[in-house]
Structures are given as C-alpha cells and as structure tokens.
C-alpha cells in the first residue's frame, strides 16, 4: 500500500490507481503510472491470465482427463465449463446444466426449471439492518466457499470493529477446477449476489463493495457490471457503492487475504491472520469477504428467517448428466450421482471421485456412500465433484494434483513454494508423507496446508498405484 501511495503521489493522480488494473488495461509504458517498471513486472509475472485475447486450451481437471493429456501451449486452468470438457477459452460455451434435488432450492431458487429471477423483489424484500444479522446468525449460515466459517460471526466482527467505513467483498474467484456454481450465479442471477452484498452492507454498516470476478469469466463480469448499474440507477443500492474488479489468473487469489491484495492491484499473496479481513481489510477497513454462493443465499435466509441447509454440488467426469445440482447437505454422494447425474455411463464403472477440488478429498467408489457435509467430509470445500472411471490411475490423478500445486503455489512462503516442486519426484511413500507433513504444518495459507489432503487419500486408498 505504501508503494501505491508513492506511485499515486509521483504520478500526481487524484485517485489511487491499481497496478493490476493498469496492467489489465494494457496501459502504455509511456503513460506515467508512478510505479517503477520492475515493480509492475513483479505484479504481471505473478498472474498468468493477463492476456485473454489469445485462444488458450483449458487444462482444468475435467478438461485434462477428458483430453487424456495436458493441454498444449500456455493453457488456462478451468474456464468453468467442465460439463462440456474439453474446452478452449474463446469458444462460445453452451448453457450450464442445473437442477435441484431439494423441493425448495435456496441458491438456485431462480435458476431451476420454471423459476425466474425477480431483481426488484430481491432488493425490496430485504429487511432493515437490525434484523439481518440476527437472521443470518439464527439460520446458522456458513460460508460456501470452502472454509465453512459461520457467516454471522464474521459479520459481527466487522460490525463491532470501530472504523469510519467498511467493505463487503464478493469472492467470485472460483478457482477450483470442477466448480462452476459461482459462474452460474454471477451470469444468471447477479441480483441475488448483489442483494446479498447489500444485506451484508446494511448489517455491518458498509458503504463500499467489490465484486471480484476471475479473468476466466468475462461474461460474468459484464453481466455483473450491468446489474450493478441497473440496481444503482434504480435506487436499490442507496449509498452502497459497488464495483467489479477483475482477477488475472491466480488460484491463490481466491484466498481471502490474497484476494484483498489482488483488489489493491498487487501480487495476490496471502498474509497471516490475525488480523482477519473482518477487522482490517481493504484500505485498513473492516472487510467481509464472502463467497458468491453464500451471498446468493443471504436474501433468502434473511427474508424467510429459515435455515439454508443446502449446497450446490458441481458434478463432472464419468456421469451421464454433468451438472450443478442443489442438494440437502448430508446427501450421500452416490445419491447425487444416481438421482442428479444419471449414474455412470454404460460399461465404465466408477473408480474414485475428487471432491472439493485439488485441496479436497479423494473418495474411492466404495466410499461414495459418504454424506456430503462439512462435518462428515472435511475438505468438501466448494464441492466440485469429478468422477473417475477405471481408465484413470491414482498415479495419473496424483500427477495432475502435483502439477496443479506447483503451478499455482504463489511462492510467498517457503514450505509451499519449494515443497510443491518436490512432490512429483518423491520415490517412496515415506518420503512423500514427510513432505506432506511439512507442507501441512508450515504453509501460511489453506493452499499449502490443503495440498496434502487428497494426496493422503490416494496414498491410503491406492498405495500400490502410487508407488508400485
């Protein structure tokens, strides 16, 4: 932040300009930005999706295994179109398949068959500030981004921290390969997300909001910008000022402290907690960072004052109907796959599933009866599910996970920066276990701490395939 102030003052500009936004705008070097060039290089070399004009193949989990090989060139890592894998970046994709296994969907309430978003009601039905926080706490709402942190507690912390203003940030950096529910919500029900932000803003006393949307979701950004403009001009947002900030290609940017750095325009490196963003976030102000899916549930929760015990699960891979499916938390995976996704394609028996993305869990087919809930399956995360049939070996999956870890580690802390480069070259289980312990114990953020989780499952379930 000191550098940004330095640059702002040297450039003589009225408002602080984010280095990342400068880079994304492709600002010419001749325009004085105030930033030293090598410092801009430090930002640009952190992100790998500044250039979105070139066609790039997706190498997310679904595309990787659908293709049966790594993508050529400089691939992107998940475009959120896993249901039609493999895909490339400039294609016009098909609609996102979605359905609900619960009678009264919460998150997909406007998006399943026969339902329609009703933007105006979304805002007008919000209760006043006093009852919002109580409702969120009473509903036991927990973050859907992966950590499952109680939403009400976070809001209360922000509200109770003395400050001249506060921020609400919608985390639309859906980085987990295999998840596309945030994209679905941002593109097709932006007002649910925005109304959720408004509810939070009222509850905590925030006047400023940011919707951070990953670079890989260009349509989501356009739709959200239009939605904000409409809601603002219609007067629904009052003095709540919201803007959209684009990511630039970094998985770790989805971590909440790293996300704040990205919004500030810097390298998206996580910082230690405390202080939590709810105490000290953007511009030093209390900042609630909430996943898009959580925010979409908020208007429903505060209007109806009911518990929202559902979750959207995105299922891809070896199923007949890949889709985003809203389920009651606690539904066994097997039921989701059978009822929601039409079971396995003929002749290809299931072998295992990666649940919750690359920091999630690996379940063998025998364990598909496991209920999908934060308690029964720690590591459920954002609940992307990729199902593998018997053509994929555990070693292939491990290699894919190792590649992902090394590619996306931000480099901020030593165990993760160096450790993720060493996973693939471990020659035996003991050596790998030792490295996993170091990653888990030492890493600064959930990324390095989470890398070992699915690898341990593979070691336990398929030891012979990993180290024959």
């Amino acid at each position: 932040m000191k550098l940004r102030e330095w640059a702002r003052r040297r450039a003589g500009q009225p408002g602080p300009q984010s280095a990342l936004e400068l880079l994304l705008e492709g600002r010419q070097a001749s325009t004085p930005s105030g930033y030293p060039q090598h410092w801009l290089d430090g930002v640009s070399s952190f992100y790998d999706y500044l250039d979105d004009a070139t066609e790039r193949a997706c190498d997310g989990t679904a595309c990787h295994f659908a293709r049966g090989a790594s993508a050529e060139g400089s691939p992107v890592h998940c475009l959120g179109r896993c249901y039609e894998a493999p895909v490339t970046s400039l294609e016009q994709g098909g609609p996102i398949p979605r359905l609900s296994l619960v009678e009264q969907p919460v998150i997909l309430r406007h998006l399943t068959e026969g339902a329609h978003p009703d933007p105006e009601t979304e805002y007008t039905a919000l209760p006043d500030a006093g009852s919002i926080l109580d409702a969120v706490i009473a509903a036991g709402l927990r973050g859907r981004g992966g950590a499952g942190f109680p939403t009400g507690a976070k809001w209360r912390m922000a509200r109770d921290t003395a400050a001249p203003d506060r921020y609400v940030v919608a985390n639309g950096d859906e980085g987990d390969p295999g998840s596309f529910v945030d994209r679905l919500l941002l593109e097709e029900d932006p007002h649910a997300v925005l109304a959720g932000m408004l509810a939070c803003a009222r509850a905590i006393g925030a006047r400023r909001g940011v919707v951070f949307i990953r670079r890989e979701y260009p349509r989501a950004r356009t739709v959200m910008r239009d939605a904000i403009a409409w809601a603002q001009s219609s007067g629904f947002l009052g003095d709540f000022q919201v803007r959209v900030v684009s990511g630039a290609g970094s998985y770790v940017a989805g971590e909440e402290t790293a996300l704040l750095r990205a919004i500030e325009g810097a390298r998206a490196e996580p910082s230690p907690k405390p202080p939590f963003p709810a105490e000290r976030g953007l511009e030093g102000l209390p900042t609630v960072v909430q996943n898009v899916e959580t925010l979409a549930a908020v208007p429903w929760v505060v209007e109806r004052k009911k518990r929202a015990d559902t979750k959207v699960v995105c299922v891809t891979g070896a199923v007949n109907r890949p889709c985003a499916v809203e389920i009651a938390l606690g539904t066994p995976l097997s039921e989701v796959l059978e009822r929601g996704c039409g079971g396995a394609p003929a002749g290809r028996p299931w072998k295992m599933a990666l649940v919750g993305g690359p920091m999630g869990r690996v379940l063998s087919a025998a364990a598909f009866t496991t209920p999908l809930s934060f308690e029964a399956l720690p590591g459920l995360g954002h609940a992307g599910v990729h199902v593998f049939d018997d053509r994929v070996s555990a070693r292939d999956l491990a290699s894919h996970l190792f590649d992902f870890a090394a590619r996306e580690s931000c480099g901020n802390c030593a165990p993760c920066r160096i450790g993720t480069t060493q996973l693939a070259s471990r020659k035996d289980a003991a050596s790998l276990e030792r490295l996993l312990a170091t990653l888990e114990l030492g890493s600064l953020c959930g990324f390095g701490q989470g890398v070992p989780r699915p690898v341990r499952d593979l070691l336990r379930e398929f030891p012979q395939e990993l180290f024959p």
Partner: protein, 870 residues
C-alpha cells in the same frame, strides 16, 4: 505469564518475542525487530498447547504453554531446511542456522533457477543464488527507506528478488545499506561485510555519526585499528537506519592524505615540526598579535572542543571575535526563532515525525541532506500524512507532495506572508492560543491582510490558489510539523523568513505540543552544539548574554579570568577586520572556509594576508594550504566527546581508533595551546569539560557523561533529576509570550546589482558532505565523481549546452565549473550546483550578500551567466 519449554516470561508481544526473551532457540529467517514478522520462511513454528503455530505471528497470551523443541518440530525444521537448500545456496547466518538444524543438502531435487549477480555498485554486492526469498530486503527498501528498488518477481518456484533490467548501480538505490543489513543469506551484502568475513572483528564501539545534524547512532565494528564496518544502532534517533555517508563513507579515517604531524611554514613551505615547536610558535604569535586575533571553531568537532576554543579566546586571549559555521547555515534560524519564540533551536523532536499529520518542508532537500530524517518523513507521508513542500527545486519530497510551492529563489518573505494572510483571512486560526500565548496579533492582522497571495504572485511566481491550498492544508491539520533547511536561512532576509515560519506555527497553535513545531534541520553534526557552547561572538556558553552583570560574574568566577569588554564580530565581519587591519591572526579549527564560504576568491585573499593563520585539521584542506601552522587533529572516530544533534540531543562520541601518526585528539591539542597561552587547564578527559559546562550553563546543569550513556539527553536539562526536554515551550515562552512579527519584503541587493537572468542556488548532493574532504576520500566518489550543475532543458537549449557538458558559471565575484545535468528538478531560470569538489570552485561565484540580521551568506541566490566551457 506464558510458559516456554518450562521457563516463564511475560505474555508480551509475539510468541517469537517471548521465545527470544527466555533464550529458546527458535530459528527465524524473515523476522526483523524493526520490520516485524514476515511470515515467509515458516521456520519459527512452535507447539502451542499441542498445535503447531508460527511464533512470529502468534500473540503471546497469559496461560499459554509453548514447546519449541519437540520431535515433530525438529523433523519439520530439518525438512524445511532441506527444502531451502534445494532452492538456494545461502551464506551468512542463514547458512549457519540451516547447518545447525541438521539439514542434508541433497535430500531434495536442486531447483534450476535464474540467478542474477551484480558487482556494479561500489559498496553493495548481489548474488541471488543465495537468496531464500525471505523478502527482508524488499521490506527494508520499502518500509524503512521508501525507495522501492527491490521487488519480488515471478510466482511459485520462480519467485525472486529483482531490481529491474539495469545494473544495480543504475537503479534508484540510494545506498542506505538497509537491505544488506537485514539480509540473512548474504545474497545482498556489502564490501565492508565481505571484508569483515575474513578479518576477525575485535570490538564494537557505539558512537554518533559525524556527517549531518540528524545524529544517527552508530555501531563501529573495529578490526586491526580500522573501521571494518558500520551498522546503525537501534536508537530513538535513527532506529538502526543509516545513509550512504554514515554507513559507508569511513574510508577517510585511514586515508594516506591524513595529517600525521604538525606543520610549520618555513621559507614558504609547510614543514614537519615537533608538537612542542608548533605549540610554542602558535602561542608566541597569538600573544604578539594580542587584541587582533580571531577564531573560527568547528561544528564537526565535539561540544567539549568548541567550549575550549571559545574559553581560550575569551578568557586567555581577550577576544570575543569567535564564530562557527552556524554563521553560514542556521544562525538565521537561531536569530529568527530567538526573536519570535525566545529560543533559537528546534522546538520538537525527530520522534514527532511519526505523530504529525502534515509536514511543511521549507527549503530542505531532506532526503538528500538529512537522509535518515528524510526517509522518516517519506514513510510518514506514505502512511497517510499530508505534505507541503516549499522549494525552488522539485526535490524528491516535492515529487511526493500534496502541494509543491516552487517559488522563485529569494521570495520566501512574500510567500510566507501570503500563507499567513490566508490563515488570517480564512480564519484558520487557533484563537485561544493566539490570545493566551502571543502578542501583537491585532497590529499583525491589519498588516498581514495586505499580503494576500493574489498580490504576491508576481514576486513568488506561484499562483494564488496554490498558496491558498497549501495554507488550508496547514491550517486544517491537527498536528502540522514544520521542518526547514538552509533554503530558508541562507538569504538576505534569512532570519526574517524564519520568523515568518514561527508566525505560521503561532497562528495555528502548532507550538509546544507533540507532532508540531518549527524545526530547523541542522546541517552539521554538531552545529547545534558549537552554538550552544558559545562559539559565536555575541553569546556565551548556553546563550548567556555577556552584557548581563550576573552572567559576567558567573563566567569570571568559573573561568578565573575577566571577559573582554569589546563586543565580538561575526565571521563576515572578521573577514572585514582582516581587510581593515584590525585582525592579523586567526585560528581555524576543522573548517575549510576557502572552499565553503562564499566569494571564495576574497576569502582566499583575506586569509593569505594574515600574519598568522593556524589551522587544526585532519587533511591539508584548501584553507590549511594557506596556513602558517597546521596542527593534525583527530577524526570523530579517534576521540571521546559529545555532539548535539538538531533536536538538541546531546549524544556520546566514543573513541574507536588511535589517531594516525602524531595526530592528537583536538581537545588535548587545545588544552596544550591554552597552557602555552598561560591559561593551563586541568582536564584529563572530555567528561570533565562537560562537568564544567554543566556548572556554567543552566541548560546543561543536569548533563553528565554517566547520564548520556543511553539515548543522550535533550537540553534544556536544568537539574540532575531532569529527564531532558523533547518539546520546548509547552507552557510558556522564555520571555512570556511569543511575538507575531511583521516583516516587509526587501529583495536581495544581488538582484538589483546584476543584470544576469539565471539564479544559482547551491547545496549538497546525497553522496557527499560539504567540502567533501571526508566523502571524496571514500568510494562515495565513485557514486558521484564531480559537482554537477542542474539546469532546465529550456535554459540548456538557450545556451547551447548538452547533458554532460562542462559549463562555466560566472558572477560578479568569479567563475566556477560544473558538469551539466539537464533536469526538471529545477524550473527554467534556476540553476543548482553542489560545492563538494574544490576544482569546481562553486563558491567563487557566490556573493558577499549576507542575511541582514545574522550575517549568514546568501548561498541560495546568486545571479549568474553560463556558457559551455571549451
């Protein structure tokens, strides 16, 4: 309380702090006490009630139990260390730590990375294959110096520290050395550190820097009777930080040019003689010329030495004709502030920089002339404080300012009157303060409304709305702090300009509390002290007035001699005295006036006409070359004493080395001279001199060497149990109320006397110090080998001058040569030149105009012509 490995300590700070307190051996590579935790290296993990947590970012809480050496932790640390060895080949203390952790180097696959190394800089060395990406260097560069030279590039395994495409010497680095000081791996190191690696250091001596008036505290690492390296000491003054001069420019100490024997001019040639002969010649000649002798004392020397010089001349030689280089720098600050506020010294402390919410920086290129203070102001501004800069040059701080008032040189008085007029007109006043603590407001208010900025645009060249904007910032700030430099003082109306600064502070009540004040940044390490000690003609030790009978009685009693009746003369008047024959002998201690005083040709002629010129020096300076007797003194590294910095803080100077050859500590030489003058002194150590000063001057009554041991003392210190005075004028002013001064603008006579259109301003560069006698004899010369003449491209084009051309600068007084430096730091019509190199002769062109109240030369305004030198 908190328990660590069975030992208890208070639950303060982080767990790492607590571990360090009980002596638990927890490795940490990215933690620095000043910079705080980095959370990058993750080596400091400990077990807290069974959980593994990072010690650096976990707060200590009562009742916690911490273990630092469990099997799990040891396994973790060893594995982490082995990972680090796969990435880098660290040296230095990081390597020692990794080895101690039992790391096996080849357990992990060595990563092939791009490594830069760089030897382009005379002091700093970069070898990035050693780097473990702990980021301390980047943070030191950003969060201490505010320079942003080092940045992190790449992601994941590509993460690396970089400084841009160019060689390091071509970067924006200001060579403060903070990066090398914090680097645990020697990836960034400096030549002093590398030498210290091979040569065992014998001891560490704490002392005070002898460059500018900031007064940074030093750790002198001594080996083989030489300074091996210098580190910043953790003190309230500099918090461990130093600049390129203080940290690196110590090569002068053992330079072959050092004077090692007394010299006596025989048959026109300076010839080595014995101390006995030199001393007796000086005493005999001074005695012969009795009544016609003058002294110039040295702001580079200690308080004790300055005290002795004036005691000698006043008590033994019967002359008040004594001055010091405050005359050529901040005498106008002292004079102006004494008239306005009653005390001629900074009202506040450096620590107030972190408390201020606005800085008004006037005529001070702080990041160059007082680099550590400049960096501190820069940090405060980058952390949210506002900044108004008044300077004809677009200095580094001006480039960061909210408002830069780029005034025409010499227009201080109309500008500061205009600022005050806005405060009054727009009622941005502290009426309560004005009513209770000032006098003359009603008349002042009537006067000042005629000085509105709209009426002074033509004089200052600054649009009125910009002046109003600056005044509003100052008037609306809660804690507006002024700092000013020689751009305020070295003018025909220097003292009056300073009074106007006082007016501003008085109008908004910004005196006598934290984070505010009027604060001259003293130029030389002990220029404050030289004046405090009485090295000025009109005031005795402690600013005592010799016309006061009680003062006379006290000094006569302590000194055992009557004081002379004839009033003394300032330095410019001493030169006049040489010309009119009333002065025939002069003693100059550690000042190279031929190079640094204005109208240098005249100075040279004056000194050459003396019957006796005695120069006590460490090098054969331009002035010493004219002397009849040259006495070899000691540098600050070679003697004990005290310096007083710009915030009135008296700090210890401690002997680290022996003086070279027969050179001696200056206080010892002075004692011998006094004895030879028939006035023997009994001082066996400088501390005894300070004891006498404490008996004589009420401001220093509570000062003793024992009390100066840590952090020094800020005068006034009226008694032994008084803690010193960080902030002056809290309750009242010495004369009761402060005065709002009405000052009319009187343009410099230089402007009327010359038709030349370009205005020359002189000053310092970062790399060199005044006459350059010390910095030119260090590798700082490689960083800046010559005096540069800054000029705007428009002027350069008009005179057919290209960047790098040698330029002849001419005034009514003489000629100088500078190397053209085309720069937008100066406005068209303004030139800037440094005066560090004798061969450039910058002061041959500066004029004989002086401040009309304090006799300070007008270095900051000389009309000149320029042309390309062929």
């Amino acid at each position: 309380m908190i328990e660590i490995d069975g030992r208890t300590t208070s639950a303060e700070g982080s767990l790492l702090d607590a571990c360090r307190r009980v002596g638990a051996n927890v490795p940490a590579f990215c933690h620095d006490q000043r910079l705080g935790p980095g959370a990058h290296c993750r080596a400091c993990m400990v077990e807290l009630d069974g959980r593994v947590v990072p010690a650096c970012t976990t707060h200590a809480r009562d009742g916690q139990r911490v273990e630092t050496g469990t099997e799990r932790l040891e396994g973790y640390r060893r594995d982490l260390a082995e990972l680090m060895l796969a990435e880098a080949s660290p040296a230095g203390r990081a390597k020692e730590t990794l080895v101690a952790l039992g790391a096996v180097a080849d357990r992990y696959t060595k990563l092939e990375r791009m490594h830069r190394s760089d030897t382009s800089h005379p002091y700093l060395r970069l070898d990035m294959q050693r780097c473990i990406a702990c980021r301390l260097c980047e943070r030191a560069c950003a969060d201490v110096q505010g320079q942003f030279v080092l940045a992190t590039l790449g992601r994941g395994a590509e993460t690396r520290i970089d400084w841009g495409q160019q060689p390091f010497a071509g970067s924006d680095c200001v060579s403060c050395g903070a990066c090398a000081a914090v680097c645990p791996t020697a990836a960034i190191s400096d030549v002093d550190r590398l030498r210290a690696d091979t040569q065992p250091e014998e001891r560490v001596v704490h002392s005070t820097c002898s460059y500018c008036g900031v007064g940074c505290q030093l750790e002198l690492h001594v080996a083989a009777d030489d300074v091996a390296r210098i580190e910043g000491a953790d003190s309230v003054v500099n918090g461990g930080q130093l600049c390129v001069k203080g940290r690196y420019a110590h090569g002068f100490a053992r330079h072959p040019d050092r004077l090692t024997t007394p010299l006596l001019r025989k048959d026109g040639v300076l010839t080595p003689v014995s101390w006995q002969e030199a001393i007796s010649v000086v005493a005999r000649e001074l005695s012969r010329l009795s009544g016609r002798v003058a002294a110039l004392s040295s702001s580079r020397c200690t308080n004790e030495e300055n005290y002795l010089v004036q005691k000698w001349f006043r008590a033994a030689l019967g002359s008040h004709d004594i001055d010091c280089c405050a005359r050529v720098c901040h005498a106008p600050s002292a004079a102006g502030m004494r008239r306005s506020l009653g005390t001629g010294a900074a009202t506040n402390s450096l620590a107030d920089i972190e408390r201020a919410d606005l800085f008004l920086v006037c005529g001070s290129n702080t990041t160059v002339s007082h680099p550590v203070t400049g960096a501190r102001i820069k940090q405060a501004v980058l952390s949210g404080a506002r900044l108004v800069v008044v300077d004809p040059r677009r200095t580094e701080l001006a480039q960061l300012a909210d408002v830069h008032l780029q005034l025409r040189p010499g227009s201080n008085v109309p500008l500061f009157n205009a600022l005050a007029a806005v405060l009054v007109e727009e009622d941005l006043l502290d009426h309560d303060f004005i009513a209770k603590r000032t006098e003359g407001f009603d008349e002042y208010a009537k006067f000042i409304v005629t000085k509105r900025p709209e009426l002074t645009e033509a004089q200052t060249g600054i649009p009125a709305d910009l002046v109003r904007k600056a005044a509003r910032l100052y008037g609306k700030a809660r804690r507006p702090m002024q700092v000013h430099g020689l751009g305020m003082t070295e003018h025909y109306q220097g003292s009056e300009g300073v009074m106007l600064l006082c007016n501003l502070a008085l109008l908004v009540g910004a005196i006598g509390r934290e984070g505010v004040g009027v604060n001259p940044l003293r130029g030389q390490n002990n220029v404050q002290g030289a004046a405090d000690m009485g090295c000025q003609p009109d005031l005795l030790t402690g600013y005592a007035d010799p016309s006061d009978p009680a003062v006379l009685e006290r000094f006569t009693r302590v000194w055992g001699r009557a004081l002379p009746a004839r009033p003394g003369r300032t330095l410019p008047k001493i030169y006049q005295g040489i010309r009119d024959g009333s002065i025939a002998g002069m003693f100059i201690l550690g000042e190279d006036v031929v190079q640094t005083d204005p109208d240098a040709n005249r100075v040279r002629a004056d000194l050459a006409s003396l019957e006796l010129l005695v120069v006590q020096e460490i090098f054969l300076s331009e002035t010493a070359k004219l002397a009849h007797v040259v006495l070899p003194g000691a540098s600050f590294l070679e003697k004990d004493g005290t310096f007083t910095n710009g915030e009135r803080r008296i700090q210890r100077v401690r002997k680290a080395l022996e003086p070279p050859g027969q050179a001696r500590a200056d206080w010892q030489i002075l004692c011998e001279l006094m004895a030879a003058s028939g006035y023997p002194q009994t001082f066996g150590h400088p501390s005894q001199i300070m004891d006498e000063i404490a008996r004589l001057a009420p401001q220093f009554a509570g000062v003793s060497y024992a009390r100066l041991e840590h952090e020094g003392l800020q005068w006034p210190v009226p008694s032994l149990d008084h803690p010193g005075t960080p902030i002056l004028h809290r309750e009242t002013f010495p004369q009761g109320r402060a005065k709002l001064m009405r000052v009319e603008y009187a343009p410099s006579p230089s402007l009327a006397a010359s038709a030349a259109k370009l205005l020359l301003v002189t000053g310092r560069a970062l790399e060199h110090y005044n006459s350059g006698s010390m910095t030119r004899r260090s590798k700082n010369r490689e960083l800046l080998p010559e005096d540069r003449l800054q000029l705007h491209a428009e002027d350069a084009a008009r005179y057919g001058i290209k960047d790098g051309d040698r330029v002849l600068v001419s005034s009514a007084f003489g000629h100088a040569l500078g190397v053209a430096d085309l720069s937008d730091e100066v406005a068209p019509g303004t030139l800037f030149m440094t005066f560090h190199f004798p061969e450039s002769g910058a002061n041959n062109v500066t004029s004989n105009v002086v401040d009309r109240l304090a006799d300070c030369p007008e270095y900051k305004l000389t009309p000149v012509e320029i042309r390309r030198a062929d």
